[in-house]
């Protein structure tokens, strides 16, 4: 069936089978491979994207469920040619080693900072508790989020 999904502000229309998972629609149909595909069981969280402004695990959503809705992926974090503070934080604080979990981690923690600009460490750890990182032990991920909280993006003049 034909669906139109707005991804990072751009409308995309494709023919998909109803059983197509959102993660595969993003990666294979739209070529947005920043969203990763990991455990396939809604445990690991590498596939987290925003659906209508809320982080969801895209391995456990059908592409057709996103029809007419807005999706934001890691490719949509960068604004006007500049990295999002959360991306800067992961870079500055070495918030990754292999990088496999990083897109999902950044989508979740960007959402956290939008709702809670100054989260405590327990709040950060709770926010990423549905995501697995097998490299860092999470310490540098927490530091990366704290860095981003301390360096919010400057308001862009209208």
């Amino acid at each position: 069936m034909q669906i139109t999904v707005t991804v990072n502000g751009t409308e995309h229309t494709r023919d998909v089978e109803p059983r197509r998972l959102l993660v595969h629609f993003l990666r294979d149909d739209l070529g947005l491979t920043g969203t990763h595909w990991g455990c396939d069981t809604s445990n690991c969280g590498v596939c987290v994207v925003w659906l209508d402004g809320t982080p969801v695990k895209s391995c456990t959503a059908l592409a057709v469920m996103a029809a007419g809705r807005e999706v934001r992926t890691v490719e949509g974090l960068e604004q006007a040619g500049g990295l999002d503070p959360i991306q800067e934080g992961f870079t500055t604080c070495h918030g990754l080693q292999c990088g496999f979990c990083t897109p999902g981690m950044m989508m979740t923690t960007r959402w956290l900072l939008d709702r809670n600009p100054t989260p405590s460490e327990p709040e950060i750890r709770e926010a990423i508790s549905g995501q697995l990182c097998r490299c860092t032990g999470y310490a540098n991920i927490v530091k990366a989020v704290q860095w981003a909280a301390a360096h919010p993006a400057e308001e862009v003049p209208a």
Binding site: L62, V64, Q131
Partner: protein
Amino acid sequence: MQVPAHFEYEKATTLDHAIELLARLGPEARVLAGGHSLIPMMKLRLAQPDALVDINDLAGELGTIALDGDELRIGAMARHAELLASAVVGEHYPIFHDAERVIADPIVRNRGTVGGSLCQADPSEDLSAAFAAVGATAVIAGPNGTRTVPVREFHVGPYETVVGPGELLTELRVPIRPGGGSAYEKVERRVGDWPVAAAGAALWLDGDTVGAAGIGLTAVGAAHFAAAEAEDFLTGNAATDENFAEAGRIAAANCNPVADQRGPADYTRHLAGELTTRALRRAAARARGQEG
């Protein structure tokens, strides 16, 4: 790579439309809410429905959480995260906040729904025990209008409910009575996992006496997710730690756990009793205003 079998997909725009679609698509159609139980089952080919009726557009119509007179009304499309964030739920039934904090993880809770959790009817599901403890009523809509079912009669067996072909669960209604306190206690292998065992308690105190008690149990083979014999023991008895311990012993003796990958039966039975006692103590403290 896990891929569901083929199915037909329809998106419902209203409750009436959903019921029309279910009637047209037949008994092998399934309702798709948050999808966090159904889609994994379909990916594993444990479920192969002919058709799905997506009700996510009904989140406004069926997702409301509100007080209505002396009832707390929880829409079937309310997401776990919304139940956890609801101040009115926390004020009247903290048992739901206790339970939601230990259901899955924050991202899954953004998507999974209250109604979907109950309709999946997993014998280890948390909210089934919480709703059994508080004596909720399920509202089911179908082609002939709506009907209500006490939540303790909602589950027919594992993965089976009284929701028939062409019907869908629309709402849970929970009576509000003064003097109450409630709590949920769970033991899990790792954060966000299904319980090894869990117990929910709701108590209404009349001074130092238990006026009414509701005890829900999950993952321990309790009939109707409840500990009816322990409730009977407590009702009219003194609200003391000794009686809560005895209620735990009665609950443990009357459940029917089986050994599984989460633990042996004797351990699970032990937990059923201990968690029942702890939930009762905490519910009583809350009823007395001693704990938030």
